[in-house]
Symmetry: C2
Subunit: 337 residues, 2 copies
DNA sequence: CTGTTAGCGCATTCAT
DNA sequence: ATGAATGCGCTAACAG
């Protein structure tokens, strides 16, 4: 062992000195690129290993003109807690982390506040990431459309807008809404309500599909309640609504969290689910089946969505002009309907 | 407007040329550091704004010898699904993202597989982050202890081990276990069980506290069931256990997810909660109060935990030799007990 | 108050 | 097969 106390190796220059070769040789040995005699390469790799030396990723990236990271942005803005407390988002985040690390990329999680109109441009120009995945367009459709026109490596999870917008991946929310409608009608429900925030395009599409799936005779009577999305707030909203005397026999909730809040609020008012009232959610988060009673819901395949997002992004990074993807939703009948 | 088509500005050199000043002047103007006449600064900032120019964060960080990112690592390894689906982790992640972005840092989310013994050293030496937050030590206590000896900017969420380990933040799991025990005893429960995975130090401490909080007469009779942590798997485990004829009257679950699975499984077997069986969880995830019946649980304050983690980390980055923090748990009595 | 210069750690031409 | 030299975009002495 010529392994004397040389102090920590800070850069390939140190290692080169130690090995008696040039920095470029070390670089070639450690990256595996370029021609190099097998002996030298092995010797240098062994030396690096012994000293616990690793290439500095930041410097490497600067030199290569990349960052090695993909940003995941959730511009949900409003309530701070909201963006990350929703089990759907979180599940999505986990699958994205898996898919990205599989490709050797880091996941840069940023909470951005869409206060100024150029929040996205500013983020992109700062050059922190090689691509951007946006989860939930919220009310930022205009910004996304504008940026998409000149920035390719970006994909958005959400409801497909009119053509020409950003590359999107999302469930077919309208079809999901129709599924919910047909199911409630089959169950003989007649007095219906929709709980959700119509400012969110996904939810608006679910609502539109819900109406479209109903016979014309019922369509006019559907109550539309603008509900918040957090467990606490949606529970409060639902309780107030029942307290005001509203007694529908079928409710379609924009998300499973809202649906679970409705089940809880119904119990507070001695409404039996599903005997007196059918409730159906959207998402099929893992906890939906654990709820009591287990939640009937429209499932969107989050894992498939994450994979599509990442695939699409890397296709676009690779120069391909890949377009949007839509995922078919599926009705999962459990015991709240 | 002297704003001709000059093409996109790639670097401060371009901007300097455009403004007729030197690069250092531009740098000073844009960073706000160093002395500069108010006029020049304003002029350059306006110019940068007009052209949509932003400093390249990667280059800035390389020069400053930092990365501007904090890594959050979850070495939970075992089941892939686990890290993603557990609402506790996800909630923690959200609060961490908030706390870090408040300090101007990015959150680098990495799923590391602790397969080799040097996974952590390798990650650190790659220089991708200025500090590391580990969520859940799992079975990596030895690795963490070794690394902590020579790497300061690291904090770990979890159960405090014997002295000398890494800087830790965590709930007082043993105290939490005692709380649960006392509560069940007060409710008159005598035939008790604990559901959890004893390989996870946090859970082992909860179990130990649970036993410690029981009168000696009951301590010997506590069943210990090694349960998985995901909704699906824990539900299956619980159902099988009830199916085998086990009929305790009080169960302490290692996490809320496990507790909710137990409630669901109990219903499958026509056990009434809480009349026949008291169930108490741990965490107080947001959905705990929405469960039917709302879940009695031992609350750990996740937001406070996240803030402590970040505080502690930056203290250590700043050279302070700040030590561990323990958070007092709180019994939240709802309707499953 | 502003400009010149020397790197941060690395990858890559171009020589040899 | 290897070495020398250049620069990715930026900041911070050091001069003036």
């Amino acid at each position: 062992m010529d392994d004397q106390e040389t102090g920590p190796l800070k850069s390939i220059a140190d290692l080169a000195r130690l090995a008696g070769v040039s920095v470029s040789t070390v670089s070639r040995a450690l990256t595996g690129k370029g021609a190099l005699s097998k002996g030298t390469r092995g010797r240098i790799q062994a030396l690096a290993d012994r000293h616990g030396f690793r290439l500095n990723v930041a410097a490497q990236n600067l030199r290569l003109g990349r960052t090695g990271a993909i940003a995941v942005l959730m511009p949900l803005g409003l309530a701070r807690g909201l963006q990350l407390s929703d089990p759907f988002l979180v599940t999505m985040l986990g699958f994205l982390a898996d898919a990205l690390t599989d490709r050797g990329y880091d996941l840069l999680l940023s909470r951005v506040s869409p206060d100024r109109d150029d929040w996205l441009d500013a983020f992109i120009r700062a050059g922190r990431a090689d691509g951007v995945i946006i989860i939930g367009q919220a009310d930022q459709g205009a910004v996304l459309g504008r940026v998409a026109a000149h920035y390719r490596p970006m994909v958005v999870w959400g409801e497909q807008g009119a053509g020409g917008g950003p590359a999107m991946v999302g469930a077919d929310n309208e079809a999901g809404g129709r599924l919910a409608a047909q199911h409630l009608v089959e169950r003989g429900r007649r007095s219906l309500a929709f709980f959700g925030d119509m400012d969110v395009p996904e939810f608006a599409a679910r609502h539109a599909g819900f109406l479209a799936g109903l016979p014309a005779s019922l369509r006019g009577g559907v109550a539309l309640i603008c509900s918040p999305l957090t467990p606490e707030a949606s529970h409060a909203k639902a309780r107030d609504w029942f307290a005001a005397g509203n007694r529908p026999d079928g409710i379609f909730a924009a998300s499973d969290v809202v649906a679970m809040s409705l089940v809880a609020a119904a119990a507070d008012h001695d409404l039996r689910v599903p005997q007196d009232l059918s409730i159906i959610g959207f998402d099929d988060i893992p906890l939906a089946r654990l709820a009591r009673p287990p939640l009937t819901t429209v499932r969107q395949d989050i894992e498939a969505g994450a994979h599509h997002l990442v695939d699409l992004l890397f296709r676009r990074i690779g120069g391909e002009d890949a377009g949007s993807v839509q995922i078919a939703p599926e009705l999962i009948v459990r015991e709240t309907s």
